[in-house]
């Protein structure tokens, strides 16, 4: 998500976007009278994180493959990173998906355990040979004489043998391959090489100046064996200094290869596998037509992969294709039939996917698929229960953390840098700790305490390590590796906005920035729009002895200046409310030798509010409908993967009312999931 920090806002025409409502409407049924649902996409490309986790879940990988880390990124856009309008498949990403699909499919068909997990429908015992590939330079299980690691591979610089132990689970015929090259000692003669198993030579050959693979088939029993590579004709020419050496890149044992190519698996098994695997990839049941089309893909495998094992080749080709299929890469809302109210309700499978990607960041699991198959998700009550259950699952924590990291721009904490002489508590670790504090605090409020928006914004505790507790002037853990809840001084701090990530993140290396702080509160906490500053703004004057930061900024931007409209009423008041915190976020009562003045007056919704301290301001914000509405609006955007519009306003009323009444953030999420905005889409005509 993007946050926009105005530097100096000396423009006019700032109404702060306050034409919108701040408190819920009264006395009407919101859904009956709500405005039409806003237009929304029907296809939402998976984010790279969602792709990573969905491929992991689809194929049952023990860990994420990590392949998405090489994908081309997405450009910045409005709203959250999952904004469906902004996620497209460019030619670069198409090629990334292609390579990743080919790589993952190759992994599956070349790994016995993985293949058997992904294709349980294949009844054959020996469909894939077991495989080892051992890399010489990084494996410590090898022993050698007259050799060493040279960065390219293992070099035998005099007659000697490299020995590698292997443990085989099955007896059979194996292919033993070595990749080697050799230098000569000026005579054009290269290394004589012997491949051995358990000390017995199984193959001899002469190496070449370039890497070359030499393979030999060997029969082996189950159990322990030793592979050996020997170099037998060492030579060193003292005159020229040329030396005959043998370099071994890797050894490979592949097998058992007996019985490969068994084609007893047939169409029934292929069909059963496609219905399961492709259905899960599509996250819905396949039509008969689709099954037929996928069987046709499967049948092309023998020709287009050509390993000699038609069934396995079919599996590989289907995997390559389905991992690039739009029905896998996009979450698609296929329903097009409006109900009596004129909106298009999502079907059960669409709801299962929408829920799963929103709350767990991945495709639905078997439980959600089962609920969808039973047709239970389209009932709002059931949907509530399911969402509630999903939030109690550990898989919900990353999504909730991701939401807040984007909302609060926690990625930008890496940019925090302070004058170390002036702020001895600053170290290169501090920005990371400030981020971690915010993450731990959010987790504590939402999952441990099941707290609400008010607690998030004004809690009397934080989660800190030693340095942060010291920064806040309260008792804390004994070291920086230990994190614990710490009670805050209620006169000085409360909630998210008195934490370091915000206070130090909106300050330069020596001086707090009331302008940045004020803009952040307006935009991110209250959802008040701030226009961009005009070009060529006049710089702030330099600091003067005895003049506070507030006085300096106010003289330049406040009442009576050309920046009065934006700054005087909108940006400066909430910014000045945090003048009691210096550039690193420590509490202060004086600034530049004069008393700090954090007082202010601000139009919050329809009312004027006044305060004298930052904590009072935070309390006013936390108790006001506008901050609850704003927070709920952000969640709506995240859950629906689209920016909010005016048409969403009325629909948020019940959620805002409940949140103001003390409902938890988990409740807030559950109610948004159960709302019509989540369950249905607008009926619209293609452009």
């Amino acid at each position: 998500m993007r946050l926009f920090y105005a530097l100096l806002l000396l423009g006019v025409g700032c109404d702060g976007g306050r034409a919108g409502k701040d408190a819920p409407s009264e006395g009407r049924d919101s859904e009956d009278e709500a405005a039409a649902l806003p237009s929304s996409p029907r296809v939402y490309r998976l984010t790279h994180d969602q792709w990573e986790r969905a491929t992991q879940d689809l194929l049952g990988l023990p860990e994420p493959s990590g392949l998405s880390s090489g994908f081309i990124g997405d450009t910045l856009s409005e709203g959250f990173e999952n904004n469906g309008d902004a996620l497209l498949v460019s030619s670069e990403l198409f090629r990334d998906y292609q390579l990743a699909a080919e790589t993952l499919a190759g992994m599956v068909v070349n790994d016995v355990a993985l293949y058997k997990a992904v294709v349980p429908q294949d009844p054959r015992e020996n469909v894939i040979p077991d495989e080892w590939r051992w890399e010489v330079e990084s494996d410590t299980s090898a022993s050698y004489d007259n050799g060493g690691v040279d960065g390219v591979g293992w070099m035998l610089w005099s007659d000697g043998t490299l020995s590698v132990p292997v443990e085989l689970t099955r007896a059979g015929t194996y292919t033993y391959t070595a990749r080697v090259f050799s230098s000569d000692c000026g005579d054009g003669v290269y290394a004589d090489v012997e491949l051995a198993v358990d000390g017995a030579v199984v193959h001899s050959f002469v190496a070449t100046a370039d890497y070359a693979d030499t393979a030999v088939e060997v029969s082996l029993s189950a159990g322990s064996h030793t592979l050996g590579v020997s170099f037998t004709n060492d030579c060193y020419d003292e005159g020229s200094g040329r030396d005959r050496n043998l370099t071994i890149d890797w050894l490979n044992l592949y097998g058992p290869i007996d019985g490969l190519g068994d084609t007893s698996a047939g169409e029934a098994e292929a069909r059963a596998w496609i219905i399961d695997l492709v259905g899960r990839a599509y996250r819905r049941p396949l039509s008969d037509e689709e099954i037929t089309a996928w069987l046709a893909v499967f049948d092309q495998g023998a020709e287009l992969v050509g390993s000699g094992d038609a069934f396995r080749d079919g599996v590989q080709l289907v995997l390559i294709t389905v991992l690039q299929s739009p029905s896998f890469l996009y979450r698609i809302e296929r329903s097009t039939t409006p109900d009596a109210a004129g909106v298009i309700p999502l079907d059960d499978y669409e709801l299962a996917s929408k829920l799963s990607f929103a709350l767990w960041g991945t495709m639905p699991d078997a439980w959600l698929f089962d609920l969808a198959a039973k047709g239970e998700l389209s009932d709002p009550e059931t949907l509530r229960e399911v969402a509630r259950a999903m939030l109690t699952d550990a898989r919900a924590q990353p999504a909730v953390a991701d939401f807040h990291a984007q909302l609060l721009a926690l990625d930008q904490t890496v940019n925090i840098s302070k004058d170390a002489e002036r702020f001895p508590l600053f170290s290169s670790s501090l920005p990371g700790w400030m981020r971690e504090e915010a993450e731990r605090f959010v987790d504590a409020v939402i999952f441990e305490d099941e707290g609400g928006v008010q607690e998030l914004l004004s809690a009397d505790f934080t989660v800190a390590n030693r340095t942060l507790a010291q920064l806040y002037g309260v008792a804390g853990p004994a070291d920086d590796d230990t994190w614990a809840r710490v009670a805050l001084n209620p006169a000085e701090r409360a909630g998210l906005l008195t934490q370091g990530w915000f206070l130090a993140g909106n300050a330069d290396s020596t001086t707090p920035s009331p302008i940045h702080r004020g803009v952040f509160v307006n935009k991110q906490i209250l959802c008040y729009a701030i226009p961009e500053p005009p070009p060529n703004v006049t710089p702030l004057p330099a600091s003067e002895e005895g003049v506070t930061n507030r006085d300096r900024v106010e003289a330049h931007t406040g009442e009576g200046t050309c920046g009065e409209v934006c700054h005087g009423t909108l940006i400066n008041p909430p910014g000045f409310a945090f003048e009691g915190y210096d550039a690193i976020g420590a509490f202060r009562t004086t600034d530049n030798g004069a008393p700090v003045d954090a007082s202010g007056t601000f139009t919050l919704g329809a009312e004027q509010v006044s305060w004298t301290t930052g904590v009072q301001f935070v309390g006013l914000v936390a108790a006001h409908a506008q901050s609850h509405r704003c927070y709920a609006t952000h969640w709506l955007e995240y859950l629906l993967a689209r920016p909010a519009t005016d048409a969403d306003e009325d629909r948020l009323d019940p959620v805002v009312t409940a949140s103001l009444g003390g409902a938890s953030i988990q409740d807030l999420i559950v109610e948004l999931v159960a709302s019509e905005s989540f369950r249905a889409r607008a009926d619209e005509v293609s452009p």
Binding site: R2, P41, R42, E63, S65, F94, V297, S327, E684
Partner: protein
């Protein structure tokens, strides 16, 4: 001095292990990273392709501004000679004196449109598009309202990289004005690749770098299936306008791409691989820029792509460069001459000199690109452009935005001059470059109408041979 190239320390993960790189998070073996053949080879068969590459520096250059002197341009307009330029050691462009006969130093080029609140963003929007700046979104998130010249050139050569430019970047990912240069069309910013290793893997296009005789045939068949599925989805009713646009982009992307068949040196590839993912670090900025340049030169030499951009630094480049062993403050701070991204802050002593040293560092990086193109024998068929998205630092001006061109584009450009056009809009420069590299208008004549339709059409005649 021929070049100010400063390789700088390369920062890679602690204890890099080939095995760690080879394996995914789960320890699953992913790829054997090296191609079978060891020798770098590039096509040097004297093809007739013409190429355009644009390298962007941010934050303006040290030319005359707000009481500061000019230390950038040659002392006088007219013919440029190597010896004459080399003697002007107080000018940044003297760093590029060996290229003087092939150079066009162009002063007096301007961006025509105002920003919508953020000078850096608005400059980036216009730098290669000559298009208007969006008012929605505005400010630091503004976008260009038109296509960029690299995309325009590339799509006229559909057999090269699928008609796509190479879009490369080295800089931080901080969710604040990142890539800014390359546009498919209005409001349609191209994502830029920030990792040379990823860019190389994508160009080579081989899973696990393993050649497979059936690969191309298989991809054709798979792509046929994908196109069929996308066509069906695209034909479904009640799509939103954004669905339609995005599915069309996806359909366009489903192509049988040529694969890069020539290679970089193994030691460079290995370093790229080990440093993959570390490109956001300040310390790696110059090294990654150099690697990107090597890829661009290789791609041109092998006729893989016809146009490329390389953006060095994010929107308002905050890189802390190290020059002659001295770690400088943020380049953006330096360009403001104060320790601040905003308008207030303590003055940076010697900021102008630091900015000048950074200009020379960029000249050195550009020299690296020129040398690579020259080594591969494609410089004379190319036009390499060192550009900026502002004229100068303190005033963030859109006037006198420096454009330094090197290469004759196969004899189409009349090089060896320093011109001051006194305020020509950048669309005319792009008309000239597109025409020089062989793009024609629909009537078969020169390109004259690139950029915003409100701008005066035409070429800059002085540039054309």
């Amino acid at each position: 001095m021929r070049s100010l190239w400063l390789p700088g320390p390369l920062v890679v993960p602690a204890n890099p292990s080939r095995r760690a790189v080879l394996r995914g998070a789960g320890g699953v073996a992913l790829a054997l990273p090296f191609l079978e053949s060891l020798a770098p080879r590039a096509r040097a068969d004297g093809g007739d392709g013409r190429y355009a590459v644009f390298v962007r520096q941010a934050n303006g250059v040290t030319q005359a501004d707000d009481g500061e002197p000019d230390s950038f341009w040659p002392q006088a307009t007219g013919v440029l000679t190597a010896s004459g330029l080399a003697a002007q050691t107080d000018r940044v462009l003297s760093e590029l004196s060996v290229w003087a006969p092939k150079m066009l130093a162009l002063k007096g080029i301007k961006f025509n449109f105002e920003s919508s609140g953020c000078g850096h963003s608005g400059g980036g929007n216009q730098c290669l598009t000559a298009a208007q700046v969006s008012s929605d979104p505005s400010g630091a998130e503004s976008l260009a309202m038109g296509e960029s010249i690299d995309n325009f050139i590339a799509r006229h050569f559909p057999d090269h990289n699928g008609g796509e430019p190479l879009t490369l970047y080295t800089g931080p990912r901080n969710d604040y004005i990142e890539e800014v240069l390359s546009y498919r069309g209005p409001l349609d910013l191209r994502a830029a690749e920030d990792d040379p290793w990823n860019a190389y893997k994508r160009m080579v296009g081989l899973p696990d770098f393993t050649p497979d005789p059936l690969l191309d045939k298989r991809r054709v068949a798979v792509n046929d299936v994908l196109r069929e599925q996308l066509d069906a989805l695209r034909a479904s009713p009640k799509l939103s306008s954004s669905d339609v646009r995005r599915l069309d982009t996806h359909l366009e992307a489903v192509r049988e791409f040529e694969r890069l068949t020539c290679e970089l040196a193994q030691d460079e590839l290995q370093m790229m691989m080990l440093a993959s993912g570390q490109g956001t670090l300040n310390e790696n900025r110059v090294t990654f820029a150099k690697w990107h340049m090597d890829l661009i030169a290789l791609a041109f030499a092998c006729d893989f792509a016809r146009a490329a951009t390389l953006q060095i630094g994010d929107g308002n480049d905050a890189t802390e460069f190290t020059i002659n062993g001295q770690l400088l403050p943020s380049f953006h701070f330096i360009s403001h001459r104060i320790y601040s991204d905003g308008a207030e802050g303590e003055a940076i002593e010697g900021a102008y000199e630091m900015h000048n040293a950074i200009d020379r560092l960029f000249a050195g990086m550009f020299d690296h690109l020129l040398s690579r193109l020259d080594e591969h024998g494609v410089l004379d068929r190319s036009v390499a452009v060192w550009c900026n998205d502002l004229g100068n630092g303190p005033s963030h001006s859109y006037d006198d935005v420096p454009f330094i061109l090197v290469g004759e584009a196969g004899g189409a450009l009349n090089t060896g001059y320093f011109h001051d056009f006194g305020g020509v809009t950048n669309n005319k420069l792009f008309n000239s470059i597109a025409t020089a590299v062989g793009v024609t208008a629909e009537d078969g004549g020169p390109v004259t109408t690139f950029g915003d339709p409100s701008l005066e059409p035409g070429l800059i005649d002085e540039l054309m041979a």
